[in-house]
Structures are given as C-alpha cells and as structure tokens.
C-alpha cells in the first residue's frame, strides 16, 4: 500500500471511529493470496469512542480480484453476525466499500493473537491450552454459530434452497464433476451412497462450512478466534460437526478424533451444553463421508486452478495427490451398504 493509500486509510479511519485524527504507526502485508490480502495495522486514535491504540488487521481483495468466495462486504456481515451471536471471532470494526479510498473494498477487524498452523496445533501441546478445554470450547463455539437461524436480513446474500441439504450438496458435486474433462468413478460411487443415505431436511442453521483445525487461532491459554468464513451458508448443522471430526482433518493424529486436538466426547459435550440438544451420533458418520467427498471435490478444483494457469502453485499442484487417499477412505466407509 503506497503513501497515498495509507493517508486515505487514516482519513477513513478517523471518520469511521469518530476521531479527531488517526496516525498510522505500522502497516505491512501479513499474507496475500489470489483472493484476498491481510495487512497488519497499528494506529493511534485521537478522540472519540475508540481513542487509544488500535491493533488491527485490514482485509481487502487482492489486486487481481478473483471472485470465487464471498466478497469483503459479505465476509464483514458474517463476522458481525457471528460476533453478535457470541462466537469468538476477530471483532469486525469498519467496512469500506468505496473504491476511492485504497482502490478496493476492505474492512478493519481487531487483531487476535496466537497461531492457526494445524501442524503446530496437533503436535505442540503449548497451543490451545488444555486439550479437554480446547475440544469443549470448540464444540461450544460451533453451537453458538449454529444458534444463528434463518431468516437473517444481514445474511440475505447466502443462497437459499428448499431441498434436503445433503441432496443439495450431492447435486452440486455432480454438476461440478459433469463439467470436468476427467471422469471420477470412485466419487460417483460415493455420491450414489450419499444420495441413498441422505438424511431428510431438518433444522437449518448457519454453518461455517470450513470449521476445522487450521481455521481457528489459539494461543497458550486457549482459543482466540474462529477464522475463514468464506464457505459459510445455510445447511444441516451436522455438516460442520462431520467436517470437524472427519479423519481427513486430523492432521495425522487419528487418536484425537475431534480435529486432531481432542476427544469426540469433550467436543460433543461442549456443543451440547450450549445447544441444549443431543447430537445425533449416527448421522455424524454420514456427514463424515460427505466431508471426504467435499474435500475430494475441492482437491480437484484446487489442482485445476494450478493446471489451468489461473494460479501457479506447488501447494495447489500437490493437493491433487491427496485425492487418492480421500477416495480410499470413501470406499472404506461406504463398502457395506
């Protein structure tokens, strides 16, 4: 971000925070992908209700603006709704849709501490604090996300549908596979199983869509925030529970069935304490098969982004080679019925 953009940002912040002036102390790029960029922002706010030191992150579209996930205004609305429902997320502060300020839409959120790195979270007991507490806490956070029910005016951009959520996903995956040059017979096998065993439409809630280790931050005391809301939508809440517990998201720690960091019992207890309702254990297994299917389809999509030249990346290229083990897992889970 150049000097001019930084000045414009300071002015915007002063207006948004009702301050007499804002001095930007530090501004640097934390991470940038094809979709969005995160900038660290340290500022001093003079006057107004936010007076004092501001430690924040500025999240904006990347200059190339590949639009595959929710845009910044949608992401801001999701964070705001989750924050208001009591979910631990980085507090969203101000949204700016005016491209005149820094050239692209952005929002400012409070900075949280800790790490999100999954390989550290599952191997290094320092992060996330006590394992039992962490698993319970994650369950409780997820139950709070699922307390958000339709209709929500602030989330009216999320697509609505009348089908059973499981069948809705089966149809989406088939549509995607039909557009691909390469056929995937094992995924077709899995999709037939998912169609045969699909639970009927029941309660619909907001689902995070990518609630797993790697997508929340924790420090040595415990969880600091749930991140990565770009796959959020309306669905069966068991979708998130299956995704979190699926074998493919345990990062090698198969003994820790809740996200590679804790036990299912602790995770379920945390969830049920907040939701006040028992989790249907039998149906979780269905959604774990769905999780493997979903990840397999995403792995193919990510590989395509590399192959097509849209985003050249060794990480995306290697993701294609996760598909075989996901397929093997799908076969193991569906061979009997």
């Amino acid at each position: 971000m150049n000097e001019q953009a930084t000045q414009a940002l300071a002015q915007f912040l002063a207006g948004a925070a009702g301050a007499s002036a804002v001095q930007i102390r530090e501004m640097r790029l934390l991470s940038g992908g094809a979709i969005q960029e995160n900038w660290l922002l340290d500022a001093e706010i003079n006057g107004g209700p936010h007076a004092g030191t501001l430690a924040a992150v500025v999240r904006c579209d990347s200059p190339s603006e590949v639009s595959v996930s929710h845009g910044r205004p949608q992401e801001y609305a999701l964070l705001r709704t989750a924050f208001d429902a009591g979910v631990t997320v980085p507090e969203p502060l101000w949204l700016c849709e005016d491209r005149e300020v820094i050239g692209r839409p952005f929002f400012v959120m409070r900075r949280i501490g800790g790490t999100a790195a999954a390989h550290l979270m599952v191997k290094d007991g320092r992060y996330g604090g006590d394992r039992r507490q962490l698993a319970e806490r994650l369950g409780a956070e997820l139950a709070r996300i699922h307390s958000i029910r339709p209709p929500q005016q602030s989330l009216d951009f999320l697509p609505w549908y009348e089908e059973a959520p499981a069948l809705h996903q089966v149809r989406k995956f088939r549509d995607y596979l039909d557009g691909q040059h390469t056929p995937h017979p094992t995924l077709e096998w899995g999709l037939c199983w998912l169609e045969r065993h699909a639970p009927p439409r029941d309660e619909i809630t907001l689902v995070h869509g990518d609630f797993r280790t790697g997508n929340y931050m924790a420090d040595e005391q415990g969880l600091t925030g749930v991140l990565d809301w770009e796959f959020a939508g309306w669905s069966d809440p068991l979708q998130d529970i299956g995704w979190f517990c699926a074998k493919c998201w345990r990062f090698g720690r198969n003994d820790q069935e809740a996200g590679g960091v804790g036990s299912r019992d602790d995770f379920y207890r945390g969830y049920e304490t907040v939701s006040g309702k028992p989790i249907n254990r039998d149906l979780v297994r269905y959604w774990e098969v769905m999780a493997h299917m979903n990840w397999a389809v995403i792995s193919i999509q990510q590989a395509q982004r590399h192959i097509s030249g849209e985003e050249e990346s060794l990480l995306l290229a290697l993701t294609a080679h996760i598909t075989p083990e996901l397929e093997l897992e799908i076969l193991n889970m569906t061979e009997n019925d």
């Binding site: 088939r174 596979l177 040059h181 390469t182 056929p183 995937h184 017979p185 094992t186 077709e188 096998w189 999709l191 037939c192 045969r196 198969n254 060794l314 990480l315 290229a317 290697l318 080679h321 996760i322 598909t323 075989p324 083990e325 397929e327 093997l328 076969l331 061979e335 019925d337």
Partner: protein, 131 residues
C-alpha cells in the same frame, strides 16, 4: 540407450540433498516449501519407477468391467485418451445404479475402484497405507 543413473534415481539423489543438507539451513518460515518440493520429487520418482504398467492394468480391468473392446494404446497420449473414455463409461454406469446394493456387478466394481485407488496412493503417499 539412456545414461545411468535414471531419471528416478536422479530425483532420489536430489531429494536426499534437499532433506539432509538444505532443509536444516533454511529459515523456519521457508522449511515448509522445501518439504513440499521434496514431496513433489518423491511422487514424481515413484511414478517414474512404476512407468505405464499401472495405467495399462487399469485400462485392461476397465475393458472387462464395461465390456469395451480393448483398444490399442501404443503411445502415452493414446493410453490416456483410452483411460478417460473407459472411466467415463464406468462413471456413468455407476451413476445409473450399476453398483447399487443387489446389482450383480457391485462386487467387481468395488474391487476395481479399491485397486485403482490403492495403486494411486502407493504413488502419492505410500505411508498412508501403513497407518
């Protein structure tokens, strides 16, 4: 005749240098990339060692399952095209219900899919099969 060591052997040697000598001197935030490079080299080396044999076996098994006339796939492009064609055939048969419980072909299709997935995991991540 090509010179020794073979491409697969070169990859194995290069990978050893990467893991044993380069990795240790990289700053912490770049080690992950070096590990990805080593992983990519391992997959490529295992595919080179296996050659075309697994894909030829897959094509032959598919021809039996889908009652296709075995095609002459002399060069790698023809082999790939024939595999895409036969797998498309199998994929649409499965979607149409050919592998549903009670169908006569269910067992044979499952055994075939498992064999093909296992073979690919042997190349992509053999450790997974031992876990």
């Amino acid at each position: 005749m090509r010179d020794q060591p073979t491409g697969a052997e070169l990859l194995a040697a290069a990978q050893k240098v990467m893991r044993e000598r380069i990795l240790a001197i990289l700053p912490a935030d770049r080690k992950h990339e070096a590990l990805m490079i080593a992983n990519a080299m391992s997959i490529a080396a295992r595919q080179l060692e296996q050659g075309e044999a697994p894909e030829r076996a897959e094509l032959q098994a598919l021809a039996g399952l889908c009652e296709l006339t075995p095609v002459e796939a002399g060069n790698p492009q023809a082999l790939h095209a024939a595999l895409v064609e036969a797998n498309r055939e199998l994929a649409s048969a499965i979607r149409a219900g050919a592998a549903a419980p009670g169908q006569t072909q269910r067992g044979a299709i499952l055994a075939h899919l498992r064999q093909v997935a296992r073979q690919r995991v042997l190349e992509s991540n053999p450790k997974y099969l031992k876990a």
